[in-house]
């Protein structure tokens, strides 16, 4: 044994490319297209495209010559799929880069701790808006999460026949409600009781809850469905009543998934602008009571700073970017928390 592998003539080429040849090819392609882009003064995006193209063609030709058609096709597909993935990442990275680079300018202690009260030009901050976003979203979640989880439990564990079909249908409908319509609904609802022109933090919460409920239902439903029937049967066979089985066996097994779903639902609505614009209004000072008057929040803060700048406009635009950065960070923290819970408390479900 040992030595060079004997090449057996299985039809076309039966050699193998050296290890990490793909990496090597792409490094060379990057250098080559770098020289080309520099010479012709092309941008980084064009450089990326040329690198991908050169790399793909080179690896295809090399592999075809050495390894034969089947392996070459495998390499081409692998490389092509990875390149498309990188392409899909470009907008995301570009967005993150822009927000971070523009937002860092005003992302300071002052921005975090002060409101816009009495601020006419430079200075000021988004403390009031961040607190508003936090409160509005928390109230929305407090309303939507129990409703959503209980509905999902009904649909998966108890629901039968017409009522179940009707609820499933209406959840689908709710899923498709445009966010501005949810905002108008909340506005109309409160206007009925308090007259037109009413603006409250809790109105925004109602609008967000309307958007959250179907997401929570869908996520929870999905997680409850993957809990194996055998676990329910094991519990029934121990003489445990159905409601206790749901509470003590089914829910704990699905818990990590449900928590992840809830966090993703929160992340999904936390950046909603349109419904908040017409329900919470905007205000320059801190308001912590969702039941009393207008309440600032980050999306609307960003919108107003950018759309209605004062003098000098740079101060307002910088605040808008910093607000956007803060919002992205909040969403990211939620996503990370969701991933962490899923990993830490997740139960591997065998099907």
């Amino acid at each position: 044994m040992g030595g060079n592998p004997v090449s057996i003539p299985f039809g076309e080429g039966s050699g193998l490319l050296p290890r990490r040849s793909g990496l090597f090819v792409f490094a060379a392609a990057a250098v080559a297209s770098g020289v080309l882009s520099f010479a012709l003064d092309l941008g980084p995006f064009v450089w990326l495209l040329i690198t991908g193209l050169i790399g793909l063609v080179t690896i295809a030709a090399w592999s075809l010559a050495v390894e034969g058609r089947r392996r070459a096709l495998d390499r081409v597909m692998t490389v092509a799929i990875m390149e498309v993935f990188v392409l899909a990442l470009v907008p995301l990275l570009s967005l993150l880069y822009t927000v971070v680079s523009e937002g860092l300018g005003r992302f300071d202690g002052d921005f975090m701790t002060s409101s816009m009260r009495g601020v006419l030009a430079e200075g000021g901050g988004a403390f009031h808006a961040a607190m508003g976003t936090f409160i509005i979203t928390a109230v929305a979640a407090a309303a939507a999460v129990p409703v959503g989880i209980l509905t999902a439990i009904y649909l998966v564990e108890y629901g039968k026949g017409r009522l179940k079909r009707a609820i499933t249908f209406f959840v689908d409908v709710m899923m498709g409600i445009p966010s501005i319509v949810a905002g108008l609904f909340a506005f109309a609802l409160f206007a009925l009781f308090f007259g037109p022109g009413i603006r409250l933090g809790v109105m925004g919460s109602v609008a967000l809850a309307v958007l959250m409920i179907p997401i929570v239902i869908r996520a929870t439903e999905e997680m409850l469905r993957v809990v194996p029937t055998s676990l329910r049967e094991a519990s029934y066979a121990l003489g445990v009543p159905k409601w206790l089985t749901v509470l003590r066996v089914v829910l704990p097994t699905a818990l990590a998934g449900i928590v992840t779903g809830v966090m993703l639902a929160i992340a999904r609505v936390i950046g909603e602008t349109a419904p908040l614009l017409i329900t919470t209004g905007s205000i320059d000072s801190l308001n912590l009571d969702p039941f009393d008057g207008r309440m600032a929040n980050l999306p609307v803060f960003v919108y107003e700073q950018y759309k209605f700048p004062g003098v000098p406009p740079e101060a307002y635009v910088e605040r808008a970017w910093a607000g956007a950065l803060l919002l992205i960070l909040m969403v990211m923290v939620l996503f990370l928390a969701a991933r962490f819970t899923a990993k830490r408390y997740g139960v591997e479900i065998r099907r």
Binding site: A234, L238, G239
Partner: protein, 297 residues
Amino acid sequence: MNLTEEKKEKEMLDPQAGPVAATIEPPAGPARSGGPDAQAKRIDTEQLNIYYGDFLAVKDVTVEIQPNRVTALIGSSGCRKSTFLRSLNRMHELIDGARVEGSVLLDGADIYAPSIDPVLVRRQVGMVFQQPNPFPTMSIYENTAAGLRLNRRRLKKTEVDLIVERSLRGAHLWEEVKDRLDEPAGALSGGQQQRLCIARATAIEPEVLLMDEPCSALDPIATLAIEDLINDLKKRFTIVIVTHNMQQAARASDFTGFFNIERSGDPGQLVEIDETEKIFSNPTLKETEDYVSGRFG
């Protein structure tokens, strides 16, 4: 399965080896009066017809299942022996549209009487399933105590500890897990998980233990460990076991019932039941003989 586990399972098979042998006789539980060998309950079915909606799945079963004996149900795939088994603790009716006609008597009391709560039936007639199904969110200890805890019986920690130890010993699992009771149940091997499920089922002191092909997902060594255990459990419980494995029925049971089905789509029927020895050596019916001698099925 790693080496140490394998060794442990082998030890279990040899009653001379290891400390397991000393503790094979589990102490009596407070739940059952009359000492460890108190008589468990018998089951009689009378003209039991089992339906899925309008489809008759099992036809006209009248059988007496003796207390403190192992009754094996054999028969080819799809002959509804599991369906019959699940009707004995009202698990069958959990499927939409499933129902039964006729009666199932647990020591003379009809478990299908309208006033009877299926939950209470299942506390007396426990079940072990084909796939080991410990609760993945719970530790080994919590799994064993699940029946007690979930039924909200107010028990002191020390009492629960005692029952957990007794059940795990009774399931021949204690020596293997006593140092890691807090580990998740999913960390055990398949055979250990199945014995854990048996411990869980016996912890609530049922009268009858139904076993639905409890060894079909296990390797031969784990299978022997379970058969060994079944032989031991019949001192305390009435056992009904469904199996595909005729050797298993021959080895582990006192009575054997043969289920058959004429053609696919026909209802399954219990064609013959007798002492295991008789079924395997000198059955009354030709079809039983054909089946146990491996001529079909």
